[in-house]
Each structure stands twice: as structure tokens, then as C-alpha cells.
Amino acid sequence: MLEQLSDIRERAMAALAAVDSLTALDAWRTEYLGKKSFVTAALKSIGQLPPEDRPVVGKAAHELRLALEAALEEARQRVLALEQERAAQAERVDVTLPGRPATLGRLHPITQILYEIYSIFAEMGFQVYDAPEVETDELNFQLLNLPPDHPARDMWSTFYTTRDGILLRTHTSPGQIRAMRQFCPEPIRVILPGRVYRYEAVTARSESMFHQVEGLAVGPRITMADLKGVLTDFARRLYGEHRQVRFRCSYFPFTEPSMEVDVSCALCDGAGCRVCKHTGWVEIAGAGMVHPQVLRNGGYDPEQFTGFAFGMGPDRIAMLRYGIDDIRYFYSDDLRFLAQF
């Protein structure tokens, strides 16, 4: 009997080691620990043994049962892990298949540039000021030292409306007068972004509608050196800190002195290329000290206040940054274009 028990133990343990599924485990339990199993039978039959054998066999059978139960529990953990592994394996996917489409929209590239400009100037204390796009001739031109028939009006090809003295603003500069008239006599630091319009045929290089960002600072102690400082800081933040910034004398009737601002071409690093028309410089802004008459038109006494103003084109900035060679992309709103930014 004892020998049989010992045999059973060996067989059971060997069989258990081979079990690799919960079904097989169940079958094993039935065979070795079930009602019809040898161990159960042995335990049941103890009563029929001679009394002197009973303790020995009883003990052995009992021990065997405990041992098998313990082994069963151990094997169950092992098989469970195996089963989980198997189930997970069954869910294996081709990770190179495309994902479920998630659609995140995009901001228009010009908006992205505008937001970047806002944030750079915000840190220098310049806040956004909105002004109308349909403007009077008076604000767009006359109060900016451009009386009717001034030759410099040729610098801005203008869309006029059928209404007398009303046009589409050709630049964001009329906002200067509006801001000054609203804030006078406070000091001013604003940027004026928005759409502007030019009577120009639409080509790869010119649009009849585009964006500008005007800047205006007015205060008791503002100098041209400050203007250079603000635009240099701005240019290095937007275009890269190693860019050179150059100030060239220019002409706008509403600023004096006037200047154009260039940065060294990022594409060729100043060596000369197609983008910078082989000059090594890319024009990024027009600027100047606010003309005393314009300050007066805004309500400020030029003996007490000075100011500077500048204007730049986000469309052009976006073209430079992304290497876009045709301005018409911006307002065609082709999704194949918009989706790239």
C-alpha cells in the first residue's frame, strides 16, 4: 500500500509538471484528488486495514493528499500565468498597421506667427490694439502726413470704396492715430495686428490682402536707440539669436527718421542666396520715430513726448520661416497646405 502511495506520488507529480492549461489541471485534479482517485480511495479504505497498519498508511495517505494539494495550488498559479500569456499572445497585432485616425486641427500658419509675435512683444509690455480695416482717407493717409496727391501715396496702391473718403486700409498705421487718441496722455506700448489691403494683382509675390503688425511706443523718454533695441531683441527672438540686424535709412511720411530693418539671411547666413536676392539680408520691417505732426495729430505734444513705430508682415515672416515661395497659398485654404503646419 505504501509502495502504491509512493508510486502515485511520483506519477502525479510528473503528470502535474506536464500540465499547461486550466482544463488539463482540472483533469489532473479529478484523477489524483477527485472522489475516484487512488488517494481518496486509499483514505476511505483505511478502515479495512489491520489496525496496526492504519496509522502508518493513514498518515502516508494524508501526507500525500496534502502534498498533491499544495502542488496543485502551485501548478494553478503557473498555469494561470501561462493562460494569461497565451490569451495575450492571441491578441498580438501588426504594430506597423496604421493607427485609428485621430484628427487634431491646426491653426493657420499666419495665426501661429501672429501669436508668436504677440507673445514676444507682450513680454516687452506691448499689448494688442485692434483698429478697423475699412478706414477713412483721413486716418489712413492725411493724419499720417499724406495729404491728397502726396507723391508718397504711390507707395500704397489703394482700394477705394464707393463711399466718399473711405477706403480699405493699406497699412495698419492708421491704428496709430486711433490708439494715440484713445490713450492720450498715457504713455503707449501697443501692437496693432490685422488685415491690410493693396490694389495689386495677385501673384506669387504679391497679394491684394495680407497681414501686418504695427508697433507703437509713445512716452516722455523714447529714443531711436530704444527702437533699435526693441527691434533687435524681437528679430533675434523670432529669427534666431545669432542673426545680425541692420538698420537702413528709408522714408515714410509719418516717421522721421525712418528706417528699414534687415536681418541676415538665415538660409545662407549672409553669404547670398535666392531668398535674400544675393544681398545676404532680408527685409523684415519698416520703422522710425513718430513724426512730430503725427504725435500732434494723436493728441501728444512733441515737446513732451517722443515715440517710435514699426510695421512688419507676418505673411512674409511665414514665407521665410517655412520656405513658402507663393503667397497665394495663404488665402486659398487648401487643406493640403493647412495640414502641414
Binding site: 486641427g105 509690455g125 502726396h150 477705394y160 531711436m224
Partner: protein, 844 residues
């Protein structure tokens, strides 16, 4: 302005390499757009000044000749040429001679193509080199004949040394009118390089009878002509001008014509003073027996004349004319008349050197659409002091180049002499405006470089402005000159030290930012479309039958437009462009929808899914003359599959009203707008059963829904649902909450119970939910409508709505019984108020 360096050098020394000079000029405001090097490509050891020793006939060809050319290096060479401007028997011509191996431009090629000269045989005769045309040397496109140089051209000198030049092409801003002349540029170069320009005081050898009595000059409108100076040159011989002059004119961009006309153009380019040459003998007197007369006056109504270009022109009384005793002979400062033009027959020439009103001149040239080199200069202003020196120099050149005899004196009528301006400059302003410290002496020295004269004044300097500086009028103008001379690069770079102005919030900007961010999060792309549309575009948002309905299409400007969404305004009541560029962009839009549909149509040609939004202004006229009200709107378009097609969703469903409604809900949540709701709406742009007004508080702020299929067809959109929204963002500004109001999260478990009710299908779901929430009170935390059903098991005219209701308390664990109590109350209330019947409650 094209400035040949050789010409410039007559008036100022060029002390810098050309690139450096160009850079200096550019930084000082004379933007050098291009540096053209004439002759830079000519091989110095292969192309020379040559002399034709003999022209012999070609034995085998009538049209060809053999030219024997001495080029100063070894034996003369014989070349075969077909040039029409040298003939057999001639000799002594100085030519541009290229030897074998020289790189030239192919004279017979349409485009600019380089070739290397090879030895050749033409009709049996070997040709050892080439006498070149302008085209072959890249000087011009002229390939009619070969270049003939001046007789004194030095044989054997590399052509590049003799004929080479550099042309600075300078872009001039309108304030730099003074630099529309070689002398003007020379003054700038001098000031920038620390020199004095050599500006001569012209004299003419005048051996003719005094001009007095030979011409009568009357200025009837001195407000438009403050000076008219004339000189008379008799017995000129019309012919070509000398080659050096022709070359300079060509380099400067003008076409040589004859010695008299060329002299007037030459002086204009050199001095900036446009001149006109009249055939003196064609000028008629005012009265019989009197001398020829010049009368400067405004045109009479209905007057006409034919200008030099052969065009017959209608004149108006705003235009200033030069007339003689018989009628108009020129449009003052714009263009001369055909009748009194200098011709081959001209013997005696009257030189006009006058000063005309800049703005009037500009108006005239604009009205006639006639921009000439003269009008470009007059319209920007010319000093009146310049008429006499320019006329004198012209007369002298006509004497020397056309063999004329100059009448003594100048007939000079000067009703308004030019006054020299004096501007007070306070040196401390230099620091105040420019941010640099300069002493009065430094300021003085700087200005003197530009020929300003400075005298001490009580609080600074009295600065006398040179007569040629019409652009300097006030102190700020002088500050700019100082900055220019110091160099913008030498002005320091500082940070603003001024007080920071009050910083304010900008709610509209913040709102737009939040709207954009929310919609991008919803998967929409941002579009920016044109602010103007075609005249018919907005009307096309309506089916034709609805266009007479004044509740959806306005025809008058006014404040009521603000309440129309979308605002479809008849094009002639909109802000319209007086000078549109194209018919597609004539009208300032009053709704964003037309632009969005156009963009949608364009995109649907290559994709079937378009989800776009735009935040932009519409332009609502408030009356019929003033500025419009510019209101910021949001427009959304969503059409096509809900998701991109993929192996996971091979046939995605198309978006419909509820996709857009979901975006609206997300947007309202993102903006923190709590008190919003929608109402069913009817608008002919939209689908009759799928359109809603968006209300915030009691105010309609938007409209959205699916596009009316009729309108969709009109826009040539494919047959798929198109969802549109337009919303007035300015109208919701006051409702946007910047801060979220925090709701504590209950620590106790919630009880969820479902309910399905059957109600009349006409009862809006929002009404059912309102009753549920109102009745549920504080314990009802969430209401989710999870099923809407109509079908066989539901009586006709009714529908089943199934809700999942979440009950929860902040104070304790709610029992099922407590939840059920509220739940039953809701059921009873729904029955009482809406006639709802319970379909079968079920706990979960």
C-alpha cells in the same frame, strides 16, 4: 535712377570700392538695387579697341565686306562682316575688336547665349576675329550694326578699360527727388565720403543777339508755375549726338534721339531739371508783328492737343499748359506737343527750363495716365533756383555739339522766387530723439557735410537749408539728416527705460484665442479667407425664391444687420470697392458663409472631408456713407466622413447636424458659457428640418445646421451633407467666464437609475431634460440621454427617450430607496407636465 559711375565721377571722386560705396548709399537711404558692370565679362587680352584700316569687298558675297583691323597687337587682321554701318572704301572707324577665343554673346540668338569665338571661313574667306555689335558685348539688344567708337579711341587698349563702366541702379523713395540726378547723387556720395561735390556754375558762350525781344513769356497762373526761364540757340545743325553722350543716356536708361533732344535729356539726368526744346520758328506770336510768345496758363474747357507720342488728348481746366500765340504747345512738365517738336528741319531752338507746381503736375499726369521722366521729377518737386543753370548748360552743349549760336541772356520770368529756408535746431534734441550725445560743434560739422550752413542761435543753431533740399522743413528733418550722416549702425541699441504703460486685458483677443484653441482641439483646421467676395456670392446663399424675403436678405444698411445671422445684404448696400481688381473680390462681406462655401467647394475637388473654421470680421454698414461696423464672427464648415477612411473604418459615416452640435457643445464648455441653449430655426440657407439658433441668455448669437440642398447645388458642391455655423463672437463677450467655478467632488457613491419615457415627438428633448433637472434638484447630478427610439412598439406621433440619471449626495451614501424617491418624483412630474408615460424603469 540709373547712375553710370563714369558720369558720377565728373562731380565727385569715388574713393571707395564700388560694393562699399553701394552699401554706404544703401544704408543712407539710397537703396542700390543692383550694380551693373558693363564690360566685366570682356576678356582683357582678347577684346580691344581696334581701327579699321581698310574695307574691301568680299569676292564671293555682295552683302559681306572684309575689314582689315589694326588692334595694336601684332599684324592687322582681316575679318568678314555683314555690318551695314561700314562700307567698302571707308577707313579709320574705331571698333570693338574681338580675337579668336574671346567669350561673346551670340548675336543671332533670341535669348542671351554665350559663345566662344572660333576661327572660321565665311564664303571661302577666313575670318580671324570679329568686329562686335552692342548685343555681342551685352551692352544692349542692338545687333543692327557694329559699335563705332569715338575717333580718338586709343587703339590697342582693352575694350573693358575704354568702354567698361559700372551702373548703380538706385531705388529712390519719394523724399529723395533730389537724387533723380547725377549731381544729386554726387552730393550724397560726397557727404557720405567726406568730400565736396564739384557742382559747376554753368556758363555759355553767348555770341548771338540778346534774347530780349525775341521771345515773350507770360505766366498767367503763377500759382502753378513760379518760374519760366528760356534760352535761345540759333542755327543748330540737327544730327546724332556724340557717342559718349549717347552711351551715357543709354546706360541711364534713355534712348538717344538727336543732339538737341539728347542734350535736354542729358541735362535732366545730370541736374534733375527737365527741359523742353521747342522749334523756335514754329512758335507763334501773340499779335501780328510781335515776337513768338510763351503763355503759361490752365487749359480751357474743351481744349485738346496732340502730344509728342502722337496721342490726341482731352485737356481739362485743372491742367497747366504751355501755349504760344496760337494754342497749346505742351502739357507743362508732362509732355511736349507734336506741332512744335524739334525735327530734322529745325534751325532755331528755344530751351524751356521751368518750375511747375508738383501736386498739380502729379494730378495732370495721373489724369492723362502719362508718366514721363519729366513728370516724375516735377511731381516730386524741383528747386526753382535751378532753371537758369540747367538752361545755360544746355545752351552751351547745343552750341558745342550742334554748332548753334546762343542768344545772350536768359528770358527769365520768375513771379515767385525760391526762398532759402532756415530751421532752428536745438542740439539737445539729438539726444532726446536719437539717443546719442553730440555737441553743438559736432552737429554743425555733420550738417555742413550736406551743405547746410549753421549759425549760432539763442537756443541752438539756425540752420540754413541749401536750395536743393526741398525736403527739409522742420527740426525733425535735420535730426534725420544727422542720423543718416552718423550712420544708423552707430546709434546705440538700448532697452526701453520709459515707464511701462498701464497693462490691460483684451477680452476679444482672449476670446478668439480660446475659440481657436477649442476648435483645433475638435479637429478643425483654421482658414483665413478674403474679406471681400463677388457681388453675387452672398445672394447665392439663398435659394432664388427667398431673395425677396426681407427677413433673410437685407437691402438697406443699418444697425438691424447686427441681428441677422447670417447677414445676407444686397451687394449694392455693402461696402463696395470703387476699383476692384477682379470681379470675384468687389464687396466687403457681411457673412463668412459664402467664403467658407467657396473654400469648401475648392477642397472637395480633391478630398471628401472638409472641417474648417474661420475667425474674422464682417463689415456691416450702419448707414450709407460712414465706416461700417466691423464685427468678429466665427464660421464653421464640416462635411464628409466623420473620420478619415482607414482599415479600421473603411466606410465611415458622414458628419451631420449632430457632429456640428457636438462641436458647439464643446466650444461653449471651453468658453465657460453656461447659459446657452438652442432653438429650432428656419432659414432658407439651411436645411428646413436641421437648423438651429444658438442663444446665449435670451440673445441669438449664432445659427447652425445643415446646408439647404438647393443651396448646395447652387454652389456646385457634391451630394453630401454640409454643416455650417456662423456666430457673432462679439455678442458673447460678456458671457464668457474667465474663471471656472469649482464644484466639489462628492466622496459618497452615486446611484445610477435609468428611465425610458414615451412623449409626443413634438416635445423637444431639451424641454424633457429641463423638467428632469428641475425636478431632480440637488441630488440629481447627471442626465444622459442614451436612446431615442421611434418604431412599431411606440404609438405613432410619439417617441421614446431613455435617460440614465445619476443621483448623489455630498453628505452621505444615498440608498436606493432615497434615489428612487427622487426618481419617481421625476416620472410623475414628466407625466403631469409633458404627458410622458413610463416605458419601463430599470435600475442598473
Amino acid at each position: 535712377m540709373r547712375v553710370p559711375l563714369s558720369w558720377l565721377k565728373e562731380y565727385v571722386d569715388i574713393t571707395l570700392p564700388v560694393e562699399e560705396l553701394a552699401e554706404r548709399l544703401t544704408l543712407a537711404g539710397l537703396e542700390v538695387a543692383a550694380i551693373e558692370r558693363i564690360g566685366a565679362e570682356w576678356d582683357r587680352d582678347k577684346i580691344f579697341v581696334g581701327e579699321i584700316l581698310e574695307v574691301k569687298p568680299h569676292p564671293n558675297a555682295d552683302r559681306l565686306v572684309l575689314a582689315v583691323v589694326n588692334y595694336g597687337r601684332g599684324a592687322p587682321m582681316t575679318v568678314v562682316t555683314g555690318a551695314p554701318n561700314i562700307r567698302v572704301g571707308e577707313k579709320g572707324h574705331k571698333v570693338a575688336f574681338a580675337t579668336v577665343g574671346a567669350r561673346l554673346i551670340d548675336g543671332y540668338s533670341e535669348e542671351k547665349r554665350y559663345m566662344t569665338l572660333k576661327p572660321s571661313k565665311i564664303r571661302g574667306i577666313p575670318s580671324e576675329g570679329m568686329v562686335c555689335s552692342e548685343k555681342e558685348l551685352g551692352i544692349s539688344d542692338d545687333h543692327e550694326g557694329i559699335i563705332l567708337l569715338e575717333d580718338d579711341a586709343p587703339v590697342g587698349v582693352p575694350l573693358a578699360d575704354y568702354l567698361g563702366d559700372v551702373v548703380l541702379d538706385i531705388d529712390l523713395t519719394p523724399n529723395l527727388a533730389r537724387c533723380l540726378s547725377i549731381i544729386g547723387v554726387a552730393r550724397e556720395v560726397a557727404a557720405l565720403t567726406g568730400q565736396r561735390a564739384r557742382v559747376p556754375d554753368p556758363v555759355a558762350v553767348a555770341e548771338g543777339a540778346p534774347i530780349d525781344g525775341q521771345i515773350e513769356i507770360l505766366i498767367e497762373d503763377p500759382d502753378l508755375c513760379n518760374r519760366y526761364s528760356a534760352m535761345l540757340v540759333r542755327d543748330v545743325k540737327i544730327g546724332p549726338s556724340p557717342k559718349w553722350m549717347q552711351r551715357r543716356l543709354t546706360l541711364a536708361g534713355m534712348r538717344p534721339i538727336n543732339n538737341i533732344v539728347d542734350v535736354t535729356n542729358y541735362i535732366m539726368l545730370e541736374w534733375g531739371q527737365p527741359l523742353h526744346a521747342f522749334d523756335y520758328d514754329l512758335l507763334r506770336p501773340r499779335r501780328a508783328g510781335g515776337p513768338p510768345a510763351i503763355i503759361v496758363r490752365r487749359a480751357k474747357p474743351g481744349e485738346r492737343m496732340t502730344t509728342l507720342d502722337g496721342v490726341d488728348r482731352d485737356l481739362t481746366p485743372e491742367m497747366l499748359l504751355i501755349t504760344d500765340g496760337g494754342g497749346p504747345v505742351a502739357i507743362a512738365g508732362v509732355m511736349g506737343g507734336l506741332e512744335s517738336e524739334v525735327t530734322e528741319q529745325t534751325r532755331n531752338v528755344l530751351i524751356e527750363s521751368a518750375n511747375f507746381h508738383a501736386i498739380n503736375n502729379r494730378r495732370t499726369s495721373q489724369a492723362l495716365k502719362l508718366v514721363s521722366e519729366a513728370s516724375i521729377r516735377f511731381s516730386r518737386g524741383i528747386p526753382a533756383s535751378r532753371t537758369v543753370p540747367a538752361a545755360t548748360r544746355a545752351a552751351e552743349l547745343m552750341r558745342t555739339l550742334a554748332g548753334g549760336v546762343v542768344a545772350q541772356g536768359v528770358a527769365d520770368n520768375c513771379p515767385v522766387p525760391q526762398e532759402q529756408k532756415t530751421v532752428r535746431l536745438r542740439p539737445e534734441q539729438v539726444g532726446r530723439v536719437l539717443g546719442i550725445d553730440m555737441t553743438a560743434d559736432e552737429v554743425k560739422a555733420t550738417l555742413e557735410r550736406l551743405e547746410f550752413e549753421c549759425a549760432p542761435a539763442p537756443d541752438g543753431l539756425d540752420v540754413k537749408v541749401p536750395l536743393h533740399r526741398l525736403d527739409v522743413e522742420i527740426e525733425a528733418d535735420l535730426l534725420e539728416e544727422i542720423a543718416r550722416m552718423v550712420g544708423y549702425d552707430r546709434i546705440p541699441t538700448t532697452r526701453l527705460r520709459d515707464e511701462l504703460p498701464p497693462q490691460r486685458n483684451n477680452p476679444p483677443l482672449e476670446l478668439a484665442r480660446r475659440v481657436r484653441s477649442a476648435l483645433v482641439g475638435c479637429g478643425l483646421y483654421e482658414a483665413l479667407t478674403y474679406s471681400f467676395v463677388g457681388a453675387e456670392d452672398q445672394d447665392r446663399l439663398l435659394p432664388p425664391a427667398s431673395r425677396a424675403d426681407l427677413s433673410v436678405r437685407a437691402v438697406e444698411p443699418g444697425p438691424h444687420l447686427r441681428d441677422m445671422l447670417p447677414c445676407i445684404l444686397a451687394a449694392d448696400a455693402c461696402i463696395r470697392l470703387a476699383n476692384p481688381m477682379t470681379p470675384e473680390r468687389t464687396t466687403m462681406r457681411t457673412t463668412l458663409l459664402a467664403s467658407l462655401l467657396a473654400v469648401t467647394a475648392a477642397n472637395l475637388r480633391f478630398t471628401e472631408r472638409v472641417n474648417l473654421f474661420e475667425v474674422a470680421r464682417v463689415y456691416l454698414p450702419v448707414d450709407d456713407k460712414g465706416l461700417p461696423n466691423e464685427v468678429t464672427h466665427l464660421g464653421i464648415v464640416m462635411t464628409g466622413p466623420r473620420t478619415e477612411r482607414s482599415w479600421l473604418t473603411p466606410e465611415p459615416e458622414h458628419q451631420d447636424f449632430f457632429d456640428l452640435k457636438g462641436v458647439v457643445e464643446a466650444l461653449m464648455a471651453a468658453l465657460g458659457i453656461g447659459d446657452w441653449h438652442v432653438e429650432a430655426a428656419a432659414h432658407p440657407t439651411f436645411h428646413p428640418g436641421r437648423c438651429a439658433h444658438l442663444l446665449v441668455g435670451d440673445k441669438r448669437v449664432g445659427i447652425f445646421g445643415e446646408l439647404n440642398p438647393t443651396v448646395r447645388v447652387a454652389w456646385e458642391l457634391p451630394e453630401q451633407r454640409v454643416c455650417l455655423l456662423e456666430m457673432d463672437l462679439d455678442a458673447v463677450l460678456g458671457h464668457v467666464s474667465a474663471a471656472v467655478k469649482f464644484q466639489p467632488v462628492s466622496r459618497y457613491p452615486a446611484v445610477v437609475q435609468d428611465m425610458a419615457i414615451v412623449v409626443d415627438e413634438t416635445i423637444p428633448a431639451a424641454e424633457v431634460e429641463r423638467v428632469i433637472r428641475e425636478t431632480g434638484g440637488r441630488l440629481l447630478r447627471n442626465v444622459v440621454l442614451f436612446d431615442v427610439y421611434q418604431g412599431p412598439s411606440i404609438p405613432a406621433g410619439k417617441r421614446s427617450l431613455a435617460y440614465s440619471l445619476t443621483y448623489q449626495s455630498d453628505e452621505k451614501t444615498l440608498t436606493d430607496a432615497e434615489a428612487a424617491k427622487v426618481h419617481n418624483k421625476i416620472v410623475q412630474r414628466l407625466a403631469a407636465v409633458l404627458g410622458a408615460q413610463l416605458r419601463g424603469p430599470s435600475g442598473r
